[in-house]
Symmetry: C2
Subunit: 234 residues, 2 copies
């Protein structure tokens, strides 16, 4: 079986905590399109790349940040309205979402080799459910969504909760994500961050946010698990 | 008026050659969506970020590169089919395309100050026309599309042609673009490349491809023209 063996000498076992959108499913660009439409609907016009760079963070922070760029006043009803419209718009885009190459195989390999793993996403449970189903994630897998914590990424709450559910030591664990928000949250949680390019960030952006290593997608990571400290324990 | 004053001492005047999609109009993500649909229609399934990173290059190269990633045989009829489907799919996405912040103002400032400028795009004339209209680009502006040259970006042909039409020295000119293909083509043409983040690349990706400076978008560039060697000649 595989076991996390990190740089420190400790008997505490670590686990692997994976982001969902852009990391396991190819949904970031559909999320961008949906946020764009939701914001546009309430009269907030923003360049699309600015939305792209906020995907993966807490929905509230995302809306705050984007509204701030337009110098508009932010009120709770506007945030609610944008969130609602986003959920509707994303539901329309979701039919084109597919698992990323190697995603199912990566999860299967972790399971078969006895690695404790969880999924931690800034999305709400309702928005995440179809992606989890697509990946064949069973009910007994630890999945932490933004509904379950006070603050989503880049706060570390999702990862802290995931480690707690798994019963692993976060400082001995690995976080896999495609956005700088995953990697910043990983650093705040004291975990080892591994970046994937499959969310559309550049390699250096992920490295500068603290990625220990950067791979193309789950398939590429699966082929290089040894590089990130996962080794088969005979 | 403004004049290009580059690092060498020469009397040859330079100009400014601007890319169109992602540089002056906010259309990259719509192009990504359209290419994705066109490829999907012919059974080529690719992660969306891989398509994003090819936007801005010659359409033929883009299709070649993407098909190669799927290990499929490439034939001319397949390329034609994908191109046709792309044109149809992009026409559907185009309604959500808008000028980028500061795009019209940047072009106006260049015109008012007597700087020779042109637009050079890997798109075909038919696909570029609505964007040019949206920007208020008049018929007397030099616009070079892929139809007019043998090879589009990252080959330097578009920029060479643009400089020729403007009657400026390419080595004294500035190329403004949002993709690494613009910047690689700028280097091959011997021009000074300036990158914009508005196409969704990371800053470091653009710098590594040779960008002399990187700005957010046309508005940000407009506020920093002095940094790239454009100065008002009293």
């Amino acid at each position: 079986m595989w076991a996390m063996t990190m740089t420190t000498n400790t008997d505490n076992a670590g686990g692997v905590i994976l982001d969902l959108d852009g990391t396991l499913v190819d949904s970031v660009y559909q999320q961008v399109v949906a946020w764009r439409r939701a914001l546009d609907d309430v009269g907030i016009q923003l360049s699309v790349w600015r939305i792209h760079r906020r995907i993966g963070m807490s929905g509230d922070l995302l809306i705050n940040a984007l509204v701030r760029e337009t110098n508009r006043d932010l009120d709770a009803s506007l945030v609610d309205e944008v969130r609602k419209r986003y959920t509707v718009a994303y539901a329309e885009e979701r039919m084109s979402v597919r698992p990323l190459p190697g995603a199912r195989e990566l999860l299967q390999a972790l399971t078969e080799d006895g690695v404790a793993w969880a999924i931690a996403t800034s999305s709400r449970a309702a928005n995440a459910a179809p992606a989890l189903e697509m990946l064949g994630v069973r009910d007994d897998v630890a999945v932490v969504t933004s509904d379950q914590v006070r603050h989503a990424k880049p706060d570390p709450d999702l990862f802290i909760k995931a480690a707690s559910v798994l019963g692993v030591d976060l400082q001995q664990s690995m976080v896999v994500g495609d956005s700088v928000w995953d990697l910043l949250a990983a650093r705040r949680a004291g975990a080892l961050g591994v970046g994937l390019l499959s969310g559309g960030y550049g390699r250096e952006e992920l490295e500068r946010a603290g990625a220990y290593r950067v791979y193309d997608d789950p398939l590429d990571l699966l082929g290089h698990l040894d590089e990130v400290g996962l080794r088969r324990a005979f």
